[in-house]
Amino acid sequence: MAKKILEVHQLTTKYITRQGEDVYSVDHVSLDIEEGKSLGIAGESGCGKSTLALSLMGYYFAPLHYTSGEIIVDGKNISGLDPDTVRKTVLGSEIAYIPQAAMNAMNPTRKVGKFIEDVMQAHEIKMTKKEIRDMAEERFALLGLPTEALDKHSVELSGGMRQRVVIAISTILNPKVLIADEPSSALDVTSQKMVIKMMKDMMAKGLVKSMIFITHELPLLYNVTDDIMVMYAGQIVERGSAHEMVFDPIHPYSRGLMRSILVPEEGTRDVKLTAIPGTPPNLKHPPAGCRFADRCRYATPACKVVAPPLLDIGGGRTYRCSFSVDQLREVYQNED
């Protein structure tokens, strides 16, 4: 079995609102990623995808607070460290994070090369400017980026190029885990393909050892990651390989998501899309039973009372539902 790069045990984090209420947007999440593998996280807006990404870094700032659980990166427990230590020893070197608006992350008055010097300085790495420059040029060439970009301001680069430059800068210290939160959602399809290609290259060349990819675009996730995990209302509802999740989802919510996929392929035009009615529950007062029960077409009165645990059915697959896999499959079959 390959080495586990990232292990998360029962991680719980909360937002504290201005009224002093607790909102548990990441609720007892456990996951692990092996070396060389990637994990995709899917779910609708507000399900906790982005909060999970922030929580995984171990770097918390108000209103987000750490509650309980462990985050272990390559054998090293980073949960509960103070923010300064996390900034110096974890961010960038152990875990790198690319936020949604990464394209606008760069200060427009500084040149790209300067940001790489900043990264080195923040991590107290002793290198001369010449050495940093050589390293940066080498890395840019390796990733297919023009070395002239180092002497440019961010506004001089196109959107796709800017995104790739940000990814190159944030992974310059070869982090063990790369967390990408919607890295390509603001780009057109051609630039998106280039960003994905570069991220896959980085994995293949071992510059990053594992990747967490967050997006609501399921066809993209299917093509990028090995595994897909679906989140709903702060909890994991299902995890499996990308192929299993898209073509054989078990949880009613995952099934609903997969049936909303739109791709320009033969036959897809004649299959009616299904929507999931309703809205996710308010996490200030999460429901006592299954969190999806209110929107689930198969829910029974018992579902609203008893919260189902996350069941492991082997082969890396887990799901959270009171019904057995066979029951659900039979119901799905009768529907089609």
């Binding site: 609708e44 807006s45 990733l143 297919g144 980026l145 023009p146 196109s158 190029m161 790739r164 057109d188 399809v189 051609t190 998106q192 393909k193 280039m194 994905i196 290609k197 570069m198 896959k200 290259d201 609501h216 675009e217 399921l218 066809p219 993209l220 299917y222 093509n223 990028v224 898209v246 609903g256 998501l257 049936r259 909303s260 996929i261 739109l262 791709v263 320009p264 392929e265 033969e266 036959g267 897809t268 035009r269 004649d270 009616k272 899309l273 299904t274 929507a275 999931i276 009615p277 809205t279 689930c296 077409r297 198969y298 829910a299 029974t300 019904f323 029951q327 039979e330 119901v331």
Partner: protein
């Protein structure tokens, strides 16, 4: 628990949507609703001249659902503004019901807008925040000449419009638009269109700010609206998979020109123009492999 006991007890809104009689209906025999010949828009900024829309011809037939697909900067928004009469073409002519469109005066513009309405990308900026939801819908009834109708009749019409988009009118009265979610606001927008019953609906990326699962609802409601009222729907999007699902005809736009147009099946499954081919091959798919090996990372350096 037995499988039979997993009853489909909840009222299911999903099955209420139908595609209509024929997904491959030939609309070319229907009368023309909106058409254009040599429509061009040139912008001058300082010394530079930008041709945003460059001599495009189009024929939108009655009851047809048309998608205009293009990437950012292709000119699709400029074209939609011209179709709506918010911008005048610098060259060329737009025909409305076969007659040259005349929107030279404000009165004529208002008359034209009775025939064409729009839904925009951002539902949050589509409403006047000081107006409650019932007044938003009441305005629509008044615009259609229903000002003198009795109050009960108006409420009945508003209730019908809301139930068409799966909203409960009784729960919405006395609420402001910003109290709704993005998907609900966009549905309320469709309820408005349902009351206004224009000949043409122009939908400019109405689902790009909405989740995938709510997106399906909106799309099906637009299809329903077309099927029930027979209005022409012009759908503007950058998502070619979405365009394929929803439309009868597809126009592909690049640098202000239509590079390819025709029935959805033909354009998407047998693309001819190199641009269309590239666009389709660059979209991630689930049945065919998404080939990353041909991507040249140094392109454009």
């Amino acid at each position: 628990m037995k499988t039979e006991e997993i009853a489909v007890a909840r009222e299911d809104t999903r099955e209420s949507v139908t595609f209509g009689a024929d997904r491959n209906k030939d609309f070319s025999k229907e009368p023309l609703c909106l058409s254009g010949r040599g429509v061009t828009r040139v912008f001058h900024t300082g010394k530079t001249t930008t041709v945003a829309v460059d001599h495009v011809d189009f024929d939108f037939h009655h009851g047809e659902l048309i998608s205009i697909v293009g990437e950012s900067g292709s000119g699709k928004t400029t074209l939609s503004k011209m179709l709506l009469g918010l911008l005048e073409p610098t060259e060329g002519q737009i025909f409305f019901h076969g007659q040259p469109r005349d929107i030279s005066t404000n009165a004529k513009k208002k008359e034209y807008w009775k025939g064409i309405q729009a839904i925009f990308q951002d539902p949050f900026s589509s409403y006047n925040v000081f107006h409650k939801i019932d007044s938003v819908l009441l305005d629509c009834i008044n615009m259609r000449g229903g000002k003198s109708l009795p109050r009960e009749k108006k409420v009945e019409m508003m209730t019908e419009a809301c139930s068409f988009v799966n909203l409960k009118f009784a729960e919405l009265t006395n609420k402001y638009p910003f109290e709704l979610s993005g998907g609900q606001m966009q549905r309320l927008m469709i309820a408005r269109i349902f009351l206004l019953k224009p000949d043409i609906l122009l939908a400019d990326e109405p689902t790009s700010m909405i989740d995938a699962c709510s997106r399906a609802t909106i799309l099906d409601m637009l299809l329903n609206l077309r099927n029930e009222t027979g209005m022409t729907v012009i759908f503007i999007t950058h998502d070619i998979g979405l365009a394929y699902y929803i439309s009868d005809s597809v126009y592909i736009m690049e640098h202000g020109k239509f590079v390819e147009s025709g029935k959805a099946d033909k354009v998407i499954l047998e693309p001819q123009a190199p641009y269309t081919k590239r666009l389709i091959s660059d979209v991630p798919k689930i049945h065919e492999p998404w080939d990353l090996s041909t991507v040249d990372l140094t392109a454009g350096n």
